[in-house]
Symmetry: C2
Subunit: 547 residues, 2 copies
């Protein structure tokens, strides 16, 4: 069940939390371009996992009536009967979530058909408890964990054949069954034709097709450029979470299929804009979801939206809570889905909330996931560029790690080019030629710049490399990497997090300035001092490497 649950939890979330939003948000009640139900086959294990609570509670809250869960209620898990570990009253539980609950014999096709027909009439999500026997027909192994993952074996197969009255050869499909199966296969023909007709004549055909194709509107690039240009001119001091809010304000009206939300940290994450309104049971066309305190379910729902197609989901929570939704984020990366997670409060820079809330290992742990881009922009310009790359990555999920604390604008000269797209780039090159390189990301680029100023006053001239996305920099050709980092200059890297992930650039010789323990509670500037993440430390590191 553990293995199955990995898949089914996803489907359950996908369905419970997003499939229906997708279809309602994209169409509206009177529109028949998207009107399917979504079916889930769920196991005992699925209903034990915590994410089932988050998903089903929210599905009930939002009255996702097109969701129909068939619960394979066989009472067996890998360790044996579920009574070893489980005694929930599943009916009561789902009633507590405002679901419609039915109980049937899961081996009775007529009962299944009737239950599904009934489920379609309710205004709630539905769960149908299908009482079944695992290994149905197997004379000795029926209703045991022995049929969960292992083959029956020759004797038990023979016994099962006898019990079910099955006399056909292996892999022989009897003609009568084949005929019915083929009928099932062709039964959707008429519905498909009707859909094609509706689609062809539909007023929103173009918008629908564009959304489903996953393409972005042409205006997006201009919108991002305008944000960048204005930022470079006005040079605001801004937390990157606020910068992200500004970017969202600009792009939400342009990218109509963006649907956002937050796990109850809306004001802190700067994820809500004036565009689109709140998605609720009374307003499925809303474009912002109050996910509640459900980080895992939120991420799973986003996968569902992305898989459904036509929607680009983004969300918000704190970076430290990336741990809570890691399983669904991994699946997004594995399934190559475009989901965008805003993760604010991205270091000890969040201050007084202390080590429970201060990510130190999360950046490394997220960079470790294949096919996931972790962005940590340094100012509003880089934040806009990070959003642009994330939106233009249809097969890769993205994390935007953003500060709570204010940061200066460092990209003060506008260029149309998206510099974040290459992951790292030279932000400051001394006219005199550099003798060392300081690499940094996000809030620590400001510190790298300050160190470069201090060193320049001592006639030591260093290059500053901004590294908003190490994952993308890793993918650049070796000659680009060498052009950014040099080939024989000493290297120092600064990030208010652990060194893991930077060591490939630093090797045993380079110096890393960051964290090697959990954080602490205090004003953020005091914490940077306490942990020695300062321009002075970078100055000392450069000088020690040059000696």
């Amino acid at each position: 069940a553990c293995g199955i649950s990995l898949c089914l939890d996803l489907v359950l979330n996908h369905t419970a939390k997003q499939h229906e939003w997708a279809q309602r948000a994209m169409a509206g009640e009177e529109d028949y371009l998207v009107d399917h139900h979504t079916y889930v086959i769920a196991s005992d294990g699925d209903l034990m996992e915590g994410v089932s609570h988050e998903a089903c509670s929210l599905a009930g809250h939002l009255a996702l009536s097109k969701l129909i869960v068939l619960f394979d209620d066989n009472g067996i898990s890998i360790d044996g009967p579920t009574s070893l570990s489980f005694s929930d009253d599943v009916t009561l539980r789902f009633q507590s979530y405002n679901w419609d609950v039915q109980e049937i014999d899961g081996h009775d096709p007529a009962a299944i058909e009737a239950a599904i027909a009934q489920a379609k009439t309710t205004d709630k999500p539905s769960i149908i408890r299908c009482k079944t026997q695992i290994g149905f027909g197997a004379p000795n192994k029926v209703n045991t964990a022995g049929v969960h993952g292992a083959p029956l074996g020759a004797d038990e197969i023979a016994g099962t054949r006898a019990a079910l009255g099955w006399s056909h050869e292996p892999f022989e499909v009897p003609a009568a069954i084949k005929r019915v199966w083929e009928q099932a296969g062709s039964r959707g023909h008429e519905a498909r034709d009707a859909w094609n007709t509706r689609h062809g004549a539909h007023a929103q055909k173009a918008a629908f097709d564009a959304a489903m194709s996953g393409y972005l509107p042409a205006d997006l690039a201009d919108t991002i450029k305008q944000v960048k240009q204005q930022a470079s001119e006005e040079q605001p001091k801004l937390a990157t979470r606020a910068a992200s809010g500004k970017v969202l304000d600009a792009i939400m009206p342009v990218v109509a299929n963006l649907i956002g939300g937050s796990a109850d940290l809306t004001g802190s994450n700067n994820t809500k804009t004036e565009t689109g309104g709140i998605l609720s049971r009374d307003h499925y066309a809303g474009r912002y979801i109050h996910y509640g305190i459900r980080e895992h379910g939120m991420a799973a729902a986003m996968n569902g939206m992305a898989l459904h197609g036509g929607i680009i989901p983004y969300s918000g929570t704190f970076l430290a809570f990336a741990d809570y939704n890691r399983p669904s984020l991994r699946l997004a990366a594995l399934m190559e889905q475009r989901v965008i997670q805003v993760k604010t409060h991205d270091s000890i820079g969040l201050g007084e909330d202390g080590p429970t809330h201060q990510p130190v290992e999360q950046l490394a742990a997220l960079r470790a996931i294949p096919n996931l881009n972790v962005f940590r922009p340094a100012d509003l310009v880089e934040t806009a560029e990070a959003w642009e790359v994330a939106l233009n990555s249809p097969k890769t999920p993205s994390i935007l790690a953003l500060t709570r604390q204010g940061l200066p604008t460092l990209r003060t000269e506008h260029v149309d080019d998206n510099k974040v797209a290459k992951g790292a780039y030279v932000l400051r090159e001394p006219a005199a030629g550099a003798v060392a390189v300081i690499m940094a990301s996000g809030s620590e680029v400001e510190i790298a710049e300050a160190a470069a100023d201090l060193l320049a006053a001592q006639d030591i001239h260093v290059r500053v490399v901004s590294c908003p996305c190490l994952d993308l920099f890793d993918q650049q050709p070796a000659d680009y990497q060498a052009s950014v980092l040099g080939t024989d200059m000493p290297r120092v890297a600064i990030e208010a997090a652990i060194a893991m992930g930077w060591e490939k650039y630093l090797g045993p010789e380079g110096v890393f300035i960051g964290m090697n323990s959990f954080g602490a509670s205090g004003p953020y500037k005091a914490l940077y001092e306490h942990f020695g993440i300062t321009a002075e430390a970078a100055v000392d590191a450069v000088k020690s490497l040059l000696n």
Copy 2:
């Protein structure tokens, strides 16, 4: 609520799933050395998080009647009223878990007292819904999210004082209140004296004190040595998960306060021994817990056991599912608690279950957590040593990453010394002197040895370094590290996972042989070939570095 939930989920789990087991397991119904109730104050956010489902479902299953949860039912979360995202019927939900549920006015002390008295009489866990007003008395901010995390401000404080009839100066505690408070403080005096008397005369005093002190029995070291010696003599070919099962068979009778379990993968994790029986509502003295498909709740419960004291919890699931319990594992590391997680099926070597189940980034992501030891032993000897180090680390949680596939015994000469304790050590030193170093962990040490054999046949002699715990190796003095890795030999590292974490040893010059993508489904030997994790690849790498 999100912030609070981090703490309270833990307490909830701690309480719901372990505190009572600890006391019952340690004492028995008739024994009054440990007889406390455990109280939880839980928020709306706690009840939304998925882990609350896992914890409370299992608490109900196990009838943990000493658990009393006071639910601060104020209907407000950070984003606003919980009605934005939540419409569970909490009473029905907890009844579905077999809990006792009461509803009271949370501002009425007499009602609270009566409800707690009532909760103590049930044979179920109890939740008391305390209907409260957040910001009680604040004339304008009462019942709003505005009092969740921000100060009231001077005007609102003045209004609240007026509403509550509070005329005292800030920080002035009126004498009448101080008196009552002091009485509360001294009220436990008699109970404490009585406990001291019972404790002093108790037949199990010595065992109880030993368990609570966290010390291990003196026999443990001998037991581990015997396992190692026998392994070196018999040289079994054994999956390290089976090796771990053998170690547990040996140590469970010796370390009486070890309590194990698995998240429904008992047979796969080799976590169950013949010692102690199953912990259930009818047998709290059991020493093995069927946690069900609840990885997160399991890890949270282990934290609770460890915090309670007197118990050393271990558990089992697949390594890929480390993602599911990462939040609680992080808290174990932050709180310096001795919990031991067996994580089997630790690479693509698990074979056909495919990329969802194949960890590639989990080892790096776990090594990233400060104060967590990740062990990846190569054979039965190293597995026994890893268990010994884990047990002897009272302030550090441990992961044991173990294979599904069989591995040869590599430590064929017995030594009493625990070589795993230093994290990495020289396993093979060529008599002729080494010209290169191959580092590897776990199942890949066999590959490193094979590569060394192939190279030796070509008269190229390499050192093989087994690296069962990079976290511990990182803590060794520089001279030990240099003695193991050399200072100027080329280095190759092999691990069937991503390179992150190895790069500090390899730098830009060294070669890593491992994964840089998600896995695939296939027989395990075919997968190692497919991803190029072979002795031949290591041979080529060494030769290319020497040229």
